[in-house]
Every structure is written in C-alpha cells, then in structure tokens.
Assembly symmetry: C2
Homo-oligomer: 312 residues x 2
C-alpha cells in the first residue's frame, strides 16, 4: 500500500485456499486462492487489511510471507489441525463459468470466525462468501462499522435464501453476480431483479456482469461501469473478490462512502478485477502499482466520460 494518512483499516472474513485450475490459457496447481486472499491482495493497495480465516497445518510459509510483504495483518488467520481448503476447477473456452472438479473443505468445514476486540472495531468490512449464518454472526459482533460489503453464492441462495436476504438487509452493499441476483429475486430481468432486492430490504446491491461490467443500485442511485477491456484474460477466478477489494479499498482509503466515492470505488473494483484475471492466483494483484491502478481507472473513466451539451 502507498501511504495515506486517513486510510482506515479493512476487515475481511472469508476463505484462504489452495486452488488447482485449468483454463484454455494454462494451468496452476495448489496455487494461493480463496476469497480472503484475492480480496486482501486487492484491497491492501488502498488501505491496511486484517484477515480472519483459517488454514491447515500444510499452508505454505511462502504464501504467508507474501501476504505479510503486502502489509496484510494475519493475526486473525487461524491455523487449525488438518489440511487447507482445496478447490479444483476448470474453465472452458467461454470462461464464463468454473466447472468444479473437486472441493475439499478440510479445515474450512469447521471454520468459525473468531474476532478479537481489535477486529470488532475495524470500520470497513468485507463478508466474503461464507455461510450467511456466519456472516450474520460476524456482523452482530462488529461495533458500528462505516461500510459493510457482503458476497454470497448460489449454493447459499438455494439452501438458505432467507438468511441471505437477512444479510442483504443488514449490510450497506451486497455484491451478487447476474445469476445470483436473478435467483434470489426470482426475477429474470436484471434491473427489475435488483429493484426487487431493494424492495425486500437490501440497502444497495452491486450486480457483477463479467465482461459487461457491473451496476450499482440503491433506493436513490443507479450507476453503471463497463468492464475494463482486458487483452490477456488468463483465469477468471477471484474476479469478484478482487472487485470487492478495490471497492471497499477505495472507500477505506478515503474514509468516504458517499455517492461520488462509490462511483469511483466501482471503477477501482473493476480495475482490480481486470488485474486479477490476467494471471493465475493473485499474482498480478500483488505485482501491480498505484501508477498502474490509477492509469487503468483513468482509462476506464475515459471510456465512458463525456461532457453533456444542450441539443435542442
């Protein structure tokens, strides 16, 4: 992270995993993965990050060292007896969907987030995709956070839709992909699905649309950003968590969550996602620089910006 006096700390609660992935552009074996990993490699460019997650005794020291070089606080990264969460997946030519070949939850199966007093005071929070009951448990322990972003997945929407909706009501912004938004709202038209979620009590939702960008909906704001045009798409894994990292990251850095900040935060999320998918694992996220991030945010802005003039 480049220094910023006012930057606030961010808490992420999620998974740290070892991923084995094949895409049309290559493969990676037992590479660093998991929602908390992508998120913290992304967000740590903007503000200091504390991770609450669990790994097994086999978690490589080199991964731990990389987080630490990035300034990530691992005091909440528990080492439990057993093996680290492993995921094996594959993407076909279209790259839209991961085909899960194998999931070994291992120590993650018994994950129960333990927050210290210091964690509870952190003002910016990302509740990555875990059981919504655990998300609610974390939320109830937080002391008046300024911005909480949540993620989820179809697995929980199918099994615990009411709990997922309860999370949506309790957080500031809920992140969903297109299918998740449709499934949770029971409505295929995307804009109407987002509106339905607001009617059901969500304060704001961000719908991730992959190559078509992302849209933010709250009761009084609607905002849309295209995807950053990536030349060298390699592995889509972690795009959503990296988006979350840029989004919460900018808000924490500026200590702002007003409309203007949220719009630029959407751009930061988009740019961090674009970096994440250019390599396996969070490689590119770790290598990137403030100059590169700022350059892409400027390009993304340029892609949609124009000064409106009167016509009639």
């Amino acid at each position: 992270m480049s220094k910023s006096v006012g930057a606030q700390r961010i808490l992420v609660v999620g998974s740290v995993a070892l991923d084995t992935i094949r895409t049309p552009y290559g493969e990676a074996s037992e590479a660093l993965g998991g929602s908390a990993s992508y998120f913290s490699c992304s967000a740590s460019h903007y503000a200091p990050v504390s991770v609450v997650a669990v790994v097994g005794e086999d978690f490589p020291a080199e991964h731990r060292a990389r987080f630490e070089r990035q300034g990530v606080d691992l005091s909440g990264l528990e080492t439990a007896p057993g093996r680290t969460f492993r995921w094996r997946g594959e993407y076909m030519a279209e790259l839209g969907h991961a085909h899960t070949l194998e999931t070994q939850l291992n120590v993650f199966a018994e994950f129960h987030p333990r927050l210290t007093d210091a964690h509870r005071k952190i003002p910016y929070v990302f509740l990555a995709n875990i059981d919504p009951d655990l998300q609610l448990e974390v939320l109830s322990q937080m002391r008046r956070p300024r911005l909480v972003l949540s993620d989820t997945m179809n697995y929980w929407i199918a099994r615990k839709p009411d709990r997922v909706l309860e999370v949506l009501r309790r957080v500031d912004v809920a992140l969903l992909n297109e299918e998740e938004a449709r499934a949770l709202a029971g409505e295929t038209h995307l804009t109407r699905a987002a509106e339905r979620l607001l009617e059901q009590g969500a304060r704001a939702v961000i719908v991730k649309k992959g190559e078509h960008g992302a849209q933010y909906h709250s009761r009084d704001e609607r905002f849309l950003t295209p995807a950053y045009p990536v030349a060298a798409l390699t592995d889509p894994t972690g795009a959503g968590d990296s988006f979350a990292g840029g989004f919460v990251g900018l808000c924490a850095r500026l200590d702002r969550a007003d409309g203007d900040a949220l719009r630029q935060a959407m751009a930061c999320g988009t740019v961090m996602a674009s970096l994440a998918i250019e390599a396996f694992s969070p490689e590119r996220l770790l290598e990137t620089t403030p100059e590169e991030i700022e350059g892409r945010v400027r390009q993304l802005h340029e892609l949609v910006h124009y000064d409106l003039f009167p016509m009639f």
Copy 2:
C-alpha cells in the same frame, strides 16, 4: 424537429416496409417498418431528412402522411408497380433474435437507388442495410459528404464479405451488431474483432450489443455507452436503425463529427433505440419530444458519469 439554425440535412438510403410482428408483449400487422422508416422517424427529431427508398402501389397514404407531418422529404421515395416489401417475424421470450417467418421483397427486389442532384449534395448520410454493391454505388455518387454511417447484416457478410469490407473502408463509421462484427472479423473476442476491422481498413466501427449498450472504436478513440434501461420493452425491431438516426441526427444537427460530438451522438442513438423498442412500429419515435429525448440523454449520462479524483 425542433428548429436549429445550423442543422444539416441527412440522406437515408434503405427500405420502407410493412411488418407483421409478434412478440411476447403483443403483435402488429402490416405496420410501418423498414430501416429507412425507423431511421427517419428517429433522425427527424434532430435535422431534416430525405429518404431514398421504394414502395409499392399499395403503400398506405396514412404512412406517407406521417412521414410528411414529421417533415421528412419523400421526393426520393419511389412508387414502383407492385407490392411493398413485407416482413413477418416473431420474437421469443429472450427478445434477442427475430425469427423470420416470411420475407416478401416485392418491389424492394429491384430497388436501385436513384439520387437527384439535390440528394448528392446532402452532407450527412446513412446507408442502411442494403446490398453492399448498392451502398458503394450510392457512395460514389455523393459529393464529399461530411459523415457517412453504414449498416449491414449477416446475409451480406456471408455472401459478399469483400464488398462489405469495402463499404467499411469507404464510410466514416460502420454499424454492426455483435455477431456481425465477429463474423466479418473472424474473431470471437469482441474488442479484438473491432480492432481487426480497423486493421482491415475500417475508419471507425460501432458495435451494438443490445441490452449491454454499444461501443465505438476508431484508431485513436474508444468509447462505450450502456443501454438506456427500458422498463417496457415491447418490440426490438428497428432498434439499430433508430440508434443510427439518433447518432447521425445529432451530428447533423450540430454539424460536428469530432470526438465530443460522437460521444453524445452515441448517447442520442442509445436513447432513440430505447424509444423505438417501447412500442411496435416507430410509434414512440414519432410521439417523443425534444424534452423527453434530452431527459433520457441526461439520465444515461448520469448513469455513468463521475468526477475522477486522485487516489494515491
């Protein structure tokens, strides 16, 4: 059209047809259709339009009267012996694609655009989807037009790809939908497809992506607009030609084709397409007002606009 002192005239060469259409939201029988119809109902809100097209002896006087009420110059609308071009199509729930049930070219089969001297001097031109050989023939007769936009379709890309590419090289901006861009470029990745077309000599292309908006690519500019979020989608027919009408319309109205004007022209195209698809036939296009158009352009701008501030 609301008056504007500097507005330049626009020429459209295309089809005037009678459409019979069924969508999940209703149906229309023998309604006014065709590329030149949608285009001129759209563009005439911005600048005066002259149509070069052909109809049969059965073309209803009421349609002619509607064009004329809109100030459209029909001196180039030839009436040929025989029946007007008819198209019958249907859209399924997804509304992405029309299923053509019947095409009766009738008088359109022998259409050969005849330009008067006055037509040849018109500075803004839309070459709607007709045989690329006819498009080239029209082009060769024009006297130094300031902006020429072309359209095409898969039918011509499959049969006369070289002639379609020749049109792309000779016009200022070529309009294509996603599939057409992919087919003509022989490249599935959309941004790369657009770049390939530029390498093959196109000056600029606009790729229409339906509900995902449209993107403009030239050698030194790239610009993207989302779709205007339509609440009451009724019939997608004519969206592309209505887009063209807003795009060329604004440029002709301002007599400008520089970067800033093109960006707002993309917004005008998007808004005119949004109006077209809210009703069968060009109904909504004919009813709309400068206030409504300007209001939607402002909303579309608001949807993507933000002021960039420094982050690092």
